[in-house]
């Protein structure tokens, strides 16, 4: 049952990413090299392909296997980082995907692993500018009972983090080669991460 939730969320992420394909591609062409959207789409599509074989697996196993699938099919920075996130998250799962406290622990673990892998932190104009504030916010809210209201606040945190990448210069990733010229552009990895978080939150809010 919980595993199905993961794939439902993934489907919603796919819809949102596909809808914003041109925008993400354009952001990446401005400060990167334009491959980010194709890597993200390939990762989602390849992960959805293994849905049937993971039908009876537990959520931690599902997250881990999706992580490995992404690691072996996507490439680039985003493949390595999202794989690290999901595999990291799978390590902290304790049998209840509806427990905000457990989700918060999982996300914190995954984001910490990503920070190590990318040798990056908040404020460097990367996807971590969305994922770090989201994991901190979720930790803060995890003792609350109203899951829908948590999801609303997480959505806001993700959006704020994404927008924060606009006015900073990049010190990590491909945009770092640009120096001052990266200012004024939202980071494409931050935008795709925010869209993914938003899609997950919307499935909770609309459930």
């Amino acid at each position: 049952m919980d595993s199905e939730k993961i794939f439902n969320a993934l489907n919603q992420i796919k819809i949102s990413i596909d809808q914003h394909k041109d925008e993400i591609e354009k952001l990446d062409q401005e400060i990167g090299d334009g491959d980010h959207i194709f890597n993200i789409q390939r990762g989602i599509d390849e992960s959805l392909k293994i849905k049937n074989e993971l039908e009876h697996e537990k959520p931690d196993e599902v997250l881990k296997k999706i992580g490995i699938k992404i690691m072996t099919t996507v490439g680039g920075s985003s493949g390595a980082l999202f794989a690290t996130l999901l595999i990291g998250m799978s390590k902290k799962y304790n049998d209840n995907l509806s427990d905000p406290q457990n989700i918060a622990e999982m996300l914190t673990e995954g984001v910490e692993a990503m920070k190590k892998r990318g040798k990056a932190d908040i404020g460097e104009k990367t996807m971590l500018d969305v994922l770090i504030p989201v994991s901190i916010e979720l930790q803060k809210l995890s003792d609350q009972d109203n899951i829908k209201s948590i999801a609303e606040k997480i959505k806001e945190a993700a959006e704020k983090g994404m927008l924060s990448t606009k006015d900073i210069i990049a010190t990590k990733g491909r945009a770092s080669f640009l120096g001052e010229r990266a200012k004024g552009h939202i980071d494409p990895g931050a935008r795709s991460s925010q869209l993914a978080i938003e899609a997950i939150c919307n499935t909770i809010i609309n459930s």
């Binding site: 090299d33 099919t73 490439g75 680039g76 990318g118 010190t171 990590k172 491909r174 080669f177």
Partner: protein, 330 residues
């Protein structure tokens, strides 16, 4: 987009199969996970050299697999780093007991995927990170300088040393040294078109150039109006020489690299301009290489790479090499 394509998703595989068949006397292409390896394993144990990176830079890196250079290369999707399982499979395939030396261009994706691949190995390994691009300021707090056309020079020179059966540590140390002796910078006149995107990566005016461009068409130092070859070369050389600080009478290797969309005629003109500046500064060009070796798909433009030479570097640059894209002495 006008390209030779059947199905965009199959471009890489179809190209790799053609590459393998065209050079089946030198190398072999393995698919799923994709890697390119030498046709015949070395007879004596040696440090195995593995490089890799996004596709679209051909002949880098697959074109440099063979005697005197790489043992294997891992091609990723166009402009995207290869995946850790490719790197793991290539390493187990080519190792011969003396360890694995990874040669990685300094791009975040390449660094991370090679690290993850190396983590999966139960073999002794070291990594040389190439960061020859002087267009980007180096810093320990940032991603730092990019690895560009100087990478193949490191691959050639360390490849030769590894062929002698020396230790992993010695190869790693020498590779880091060659990297330090090498500086590059490039300029683009047009954008490249990533096949999956179907349109140019960046817009650039008919009279503009991107100065200090990277090898994916990613922006460089500045966008400006096009100048004469003499003026462009002078600016590039000022940056490279300012970084390398060669001494009077220093011997150098001068490598002019085309990005894929510029004719050789212009690359030789660029060589002429660069050599004039070096002559004027009492720097001796005693080795040279001109051609499309580190490309950015169909991007027009080129880069200048200079390597400061010493006796050992010269010896290993001159030694025999037999790969699809570089062959001499054999």
């Amino acid at each position: 987009m006008k390209k030779f394509v059947n199905n965009v998703d199959e471009i890489l595989t179809e190209s790799l199969i053609g590459f393998g068949d065209a050079h089946d006397n030198i190398l072999e292409v393995k698919l799923s996970p994709d890697f390119i390896t030498r046709k015949s394993k070395p007879t004596n144990p040696k440090v195995a050299l593995i490089s890799g990176g996004g596709s679209g830079h051909e002949p880098l890196h697959g074109g440099f697999v063979g005697h005197g250079m790489l043992d294997a290369a891992c091609p990723g999707q166009v402009f995207s780093a290869p995946t850790p399982d490719q790197i793991e499979s290539a390493a187990y395939h080519v190792h011969s007991g003396k360890g694995i030396l990874f040669i990685v261009k300094n791009y975040s994706g390449d660094i991370m995927n090679f690290e993850m691949g190396a983590d999966m190995l139960d073999l002794e390994h070291q990594t040389i990170v190439v960061n020859d691009d002087v267009a980007v300021e180096d810093s320990t707090f940032t991603t730092g300088r990019r690895g560009v056309a100087g990478t193949m020079i490191v691959e050639k020179i360390v490849g030769s040393l590894a062929e002698r059966g020396v230790s992993l540590e010695e190869c790693k140390k020498f590779g880091d040294h060659v990297n330090k002796m090498t500086g590059s910078m490039g300029v683009a006149f047009t954008s490249c078109t990533v096949p999956a995107a179907g349109k140019p990566t960046f817009d650039i005016g008919a009279d503009e150039m991107e100065f200090g461009v990277g090898i994916h068409g990613e922006p460089g130092r500045k966008r400006e109006k096009i100048k004469t070859a003499n003026e462009i070369t002078s600016e590039l050389m000022t940056a490279i020489l300012g970084d390398l600080k060669p001494e009077n009478n220093q011997e150098v290797l001068l490598h002019i690299n085309g990005f894929g969309g510029t004719p050789l005629m212009e690359l030789y003109l660029l060589f002429n301009e660069a050599k004039k500046i070096l002559d004027h500064n009492n720097i001796k060009v005693t080795r040279s290489l001109v051609g499309n070796y580190t490309t950015s798909l169909d991007m027009a433009g080129g880069s200048i790479t200079i390597t400061k030479l010493d006796e050992k570097i010269i010896e290993h640059w001159d030694s025999p090499v037999h790969t699809a894209a570089l062959r001499w002495g054999i």
